[in-house]
Subunit: 718 residues, 2 copies
């Protein structure tokens, strides 16, 4: 049995999972006052928190609120049944033979990769009738947590006395070294994770499974039924589920900790847990940082997303081929836009800023005039330059991205490894090269469209430096002096057309030539996009340097200091912001009010057919033929999707929804529109986690997909 | 025979049409130098200009360039065959019995109005088999120009020595009086038109036809084939045509001047004329005013349109009922957006600013540091306040609009007529009341959607006054102090929901009650939207006053002065900006280059079927059943739509396209995307007028609609 090891503060000895939790409990007893912070404003009254498994606070709250005792064994079982799936999702083991359950949308890239012109697996779904039919997914990995070590003090020693920027550099280097050493020592995958904005640094050790095979996936049309229109909405009807299997030595991995399948599903008001890997939250943001997000970051981002969505949609509407070419870009923009509107709406809601009357006073005094106010204010004046030039938002195109990578790779490789831009250090070069040589088609018209729109946005921002303030000699926009000639001869559309149509970078052979030719080839190139990137590269680098030195580093430092103080005061009464590491959250199955109407927590198959019919089965409300053919076999009352009060965020996709017995009752795949505020603050009123109910998975496996082997493995009676 | 009367400058005697033109010619001879202005940069080399019929310059140019002599008789015939159709379009008489040809989209409101649940005339089209089947269109009017009088001097006497604002007021009052007096005297419809930005004021006298009946219209699906995706695009395939008839004394009006139908259509490179009522152009804008449009007006407007289009589209995608409810708003936004992108693209194109090398120097010196620079610079800092509060862009909803009208009508009626806001003076009150009592359905969800988005935009702009500049006590956005409490308790969505759901204004009976109750009822009302409007009305009025006093009045004055100088120098060598009065433009049938490809000028029926098929006949590329049923009867080579170099703009829709014989060869219904720059500048390279070719009208009247009576009346051989 693998033991969870953890070093708490300066204790030199490893602690088992249960010893650890007792230690924390003892520590917590010293903090006499239970002070609320914005981070845990409503800790006692709401189902808030993405808790570290070692936290005693979560067990205490669940005990007090729901009377359930999360024993050490129960916790360990859940902990070890959970796995991080690939680069973006969560999953769980659901059989002793390495069967893994995750979302369809988390596994979709694999389906796409294994599709052929004859068999579009996204469209048709997949079922391996026998073990030997399971499809190996090259490059896909799953990791399971083995142990954790606190290295905060170790890093602190290294950075003491250094200026923020130098400290950040020293810390980055030390972290790389520790990860490497620990990996060599343990033969495990090792990652150092920053918790509490630098208040804590933990070294996570993971067991890694590298032979993952595809077992079952339904058709995309039922997995993502309702598409973008129903994304983040509820009621919902998605079988967003797929099964994979971990192998070791070419045989199904033998797994000690896996989640059994609940036989009776889950009922309204029942206590449930989500164990998974939430990606990123920003709940420790100070008031002024939140204001920056509300008044600057999101409005700017949304303005960009709005125009892109309109421009892409208008292009798509002109021909079916256009629609096909822009589909992926358009879907992505729609998803980002919906998320950004939800988050901005949360930030514009006064009650969310003062959600707890009791905490109002303290929150106010803590956040008013906070240390972040000045950098945030200055950042709002600077950010667009960074974002347009260095992040490349003003040059939105594959052609620019490829040219930038080619140019920078050539320039950076001339330097010693340690002095290069992070993403061009030796460890990352292979992935940069893969990205450059990826031969997905690049369409000239789409490229011109995207680049024209983003260049036009840049023109609007800086108007080519032509306009003069008639009151003085000072130009109205002094910031653009360095690129004032960009539009002096060409309109955005003309420039985009020249840069894209004149470039040969759409041809992968041309890219390979420039890649192999290195610095000399880049310098000699007369490709207009390469020349364009070279012309503005020093400007982009200048903005990046300014950003890193004047904002990133000092802001990290401020947050680390705030976090240390907070951590010293509250210990594990507070949870760290999400960092794509394993967390547990608790909640209940519960409906909510929306526009004066009560939304019931659980949907059923009948509701799904009603929804499809109300939309005349038009895309994205069309159903796979298998569901239409077998409609009469299905029990219309079968529970389909459900909502719970669990505190989740992106990255939690694919997490199991677990009952008190430690059984799977559902599969988390989304949050409703109100849950988008979870980035900043959790509120129980309307924020909901959305999951697939196990019943619809069982019903469809039985009656539509005839997946007998899978049903038996899950231990479901046929 | 009606004579065109015109008073030139101070000549007291009326001039006939031909005398007038000779007078102008004489005057022109005095201007020795033919100097180019931006307004007529390329007058000699391009088919530019929306010319007054009395201009000698247009006849001279056509003579020189195309060798065609536009005789006085020819001009008069065209002039008197042209008519302004309703409130937004152009049209022409095409038979001696009062038959009028215009666009389907110009007459669409009439089709909608006369539809019943049993017969959707937009969908099914309409054909009156006999005279008695023709449908009277209540409220629809057509006007034909009778005569013109120059009243510039008369007005100048009145305003001499007054400050800009006082002058504007005196001018407005004098114009009202003149229009009234002239109408009483002549029994004609009289309108004073500002030409050359106030350089000239002309009194137009019109004969008015008030009994207009619907004769024929095709199905909307073929009239607007391609919908928004193909709007402003080419190649194109629309039968955007309908026929009406003017009646007098319940009998078809007997018309002396009407256009005959060309029997052989029109060929590539053939000389053609457009006679119609172009709405508005801004070609006299100075450089700094154009910069304001480019760097401020259009970016701000587009940002609003982008977000609305996205928000409306996302709402539409959620259900078919949503789609139906928002369809009209969404269509309008898409059209505005496409137009604004085209115009901004033109303004961002350097070559359009200096399209003629020769004129560069003079244009530059004339426009650099022009008198508009300061007001434009200050306007860019002020404009949003005016636009959000007074124009109401921040409160985008019918509920707000209705509450605003009810509140202002009540407040304004307490004042003497002359002191009221323009739109609430006695002459306008009936139309305000009609607008308030219009009982089109208003949907609560659509209202909340629209108001939420626009309030959120306001929040982004001013962020509720909460954020402080940490460098000083000064708030970052001092401008919003007066409404800083708007969002202190409610988010935009919460506020929108309260204002809309709590309001009874969606009920027309409630509106009538408040309308009848006047000032007392408004003041006593506890309707949340009425109270909201009252609360911010003085702020909105303040912005309006500032706008009118500090910008509108002085800018009008500056333009009037510039225009006077220019007019004195160039006389009728230049044409006035479009003002929805009758103009003539010349050009040829001609293709153009787009993205390196040559676009042929004329499409045909085969191309239309190809386009429909390439889009799988999906909306808006679906065809009416009549076209599908009769496809085999149609000659696939029949000419469908065509493009010409004529200089046109919105308002020209429905204008006849006329050959040198004075015959109809087409029907103008659109401009291509490049023609959108016509607002500011005309360039012949790509800007094209788009028209329906007469051939497709004839072919479909014959073979699809069996409109024998109509074909005979048009004098077409069957």
């Amino acid at each position: 049995m693998q033991q969870l090891s953890f070093q708490l503060f300066t204790h030199p000895f490893p602690l088992t999972f249960s010893v650890l939790r007792r230690q924390v409990l003892t520590f917590i007893c010293y903090t006499a006052l239970f002070l609320l912070t914005v981070l845990s404003l409503s800790v006692l009254c709401a189902d808030e928190g993405m808790w570290l498994f070692e936290s005693n606070s979560v067990t205490a709250q669940v005990k007090e609120k729901y009377g359930f005792n999360m024993t050490d064994d129960w916790m360990e079982h859940i902990f070890k049944s959970s796995t991080r799936f690939g680069r973006s999702g969560s999953a769980s083991f659901v059989s002793p033979n390495g069967l893994i359950m995750t979302n369809h949308h988390v596994g979709a890239a694999q389906l796409q990769m294994h599709s052929t012109p004859e068999n579009d697996m996204l469209k048709n779904g997949f079922y391996a009738k026998t073990l030997s039919d399971e499809i190996p997914c090259k490059g896909l990995e799953c990791i399971v947590m083995d142990s954790v070590k606190d290295i905060t003090d170790e890093l602190e020693k290294i950075t003491t006395g250094l200026q923020p920027e130098a400290a950040a550099k020293a810390r980055r280097e030390a972290i790389s070294k520790i990860e490497q050493e620990e990996a060599n020592k343990s033969n495990l995958h090792c990652e150092v994770v920053t918790l509490f904005q630098g208040g804590k640094y933990h070294l996570y050790r993971y067991k890694k499974y590298t032979d993952i095979r595809l077992v079952w996936a339904p058709e995309q049309d039922i997995a993502a039924f309702g598409g973008d229109p129903d994304n983040y909405e509820y009621p919902r009807y998605c079988v967003d589920c797929s099964f994979f299997r971990a192998y070791e030595n070419d045989k199904p991995a033998q797994i000690q900790h896996y989640l059994k399948w609940a036989t009776n599903g889950v009922k309204e008001n029942e206590l449930v847990f989500v164990s998974g890997f939430p990606g990123t939250t920003n709940r420790a943001f100070t008031r002024s940082h939140l204001e920056f997000q509300r008044d600057f970051y999101f409005p700017e981002r949304l303005a960009r997303l709005y125009r892109r969505e309109v421009v892409y949609s208008a292009f798509a509407e002109r021909s079916l081929e256009n629609k096909r070419r822009i589909a992926h870009d358009l879907d992505a923009v729609k998803n980002y836009r919906k998320r950004a509107i939800g988050q901005l709406d949360a930030l514009q809601t006064p009650s969310l800023w003062k959600s707890n009357e009791e905490a109002k006073e303290s929150a106010h005094s803590r956040f008013h005039g906070d240390a972040m106010a000045l950098p945030c204010f200055r950042l709002s004046e600077f950010y667009i330059n960074y974002c347009y030039f260095e992040t490349g938002e003003a040059f939105n195109s594959q052609t620019f991205r490829l040219a930038r990578q080619l140019v920078r790779l050539a320039l950076e490789k001339e330097k010693p490894n340690a002095e290069r831009l992070r993403e061009y250090r030796d460890g990352n070069i292979d992935s940069i090269k893969r990205s450059i040589l990826n031969d997905s088609p690049i369409y000239e018209d789409v490229e011109i469209l995207k680049l024209t729109d983003s260049l036009s946005m840049l023109f609007e921002y800086g108007n080519g430096g032509e306009r003069q303030n008639p009151n003085s000699a000072k130009p109205i926009f002094p910031r653009n002096i360095e690129w004032s000639t960009m539009f002096s001869k060409n309109s955005p559309k003309e420039l985009a057309t020249k840069l894209v149509s004149g470039s040969k970078l759409r041809d992968v052979a041309e890219r390979r030539k420039l890649l192999d030719g290195g610095f000399t080839a880049i310098n000699a190139s007369d490709d207009p996009m390469i020349k364009f990137v070279l012309q503005y590269d020093s400007l982009a680098r200048k903005y990046r340097k300014l950003y890193e030195e004047q904002f990133e580093a000092p802001m990290t430092e401020i947050y680390a200091n705030l976090a240390k103080k907070r951590f010293q005061k509250y210990g594990d009464k507070i949870y760290p912001d999400a960092t794509f590491t394993l967390r547990i959250s608790f909640g209940v199955v519960k409906g909510y009010e929306e526009a004066g109407k009560y939304i019931k927590p659980v949907t059923n198959i009948a509701g799904m057919f009603d929804r499809a019919e109300s939309m005349k089965f038009k895309e994205p409300f069309n159903l796979p033929q298998s569901w239409l053919d077998n409609k009469n076999k299905l029990d219309p009352k079968t529970r389909f999707n459900l909502v719970t009060t669990n505190d989740i965020i992106g990255g939690n996709s694919g997490s199991p929804l677990i009952n008190t017995k430690g059984e799977v009752v559902g599969l988390v795949f989304d949050g409703n529109i109100y849950s988008l505020s979870n980035n900043f603050i959790y509120t129980e009123t309307q924020s909901r986690c959305v999951a697939v109910h196990v019943d619809v998975i069982i019903e469809s496996l039985k009656k539509i997909y005839n997946a007998k082997r899978l049903i038996e493995e899950l231990g479901i009676k046929n």
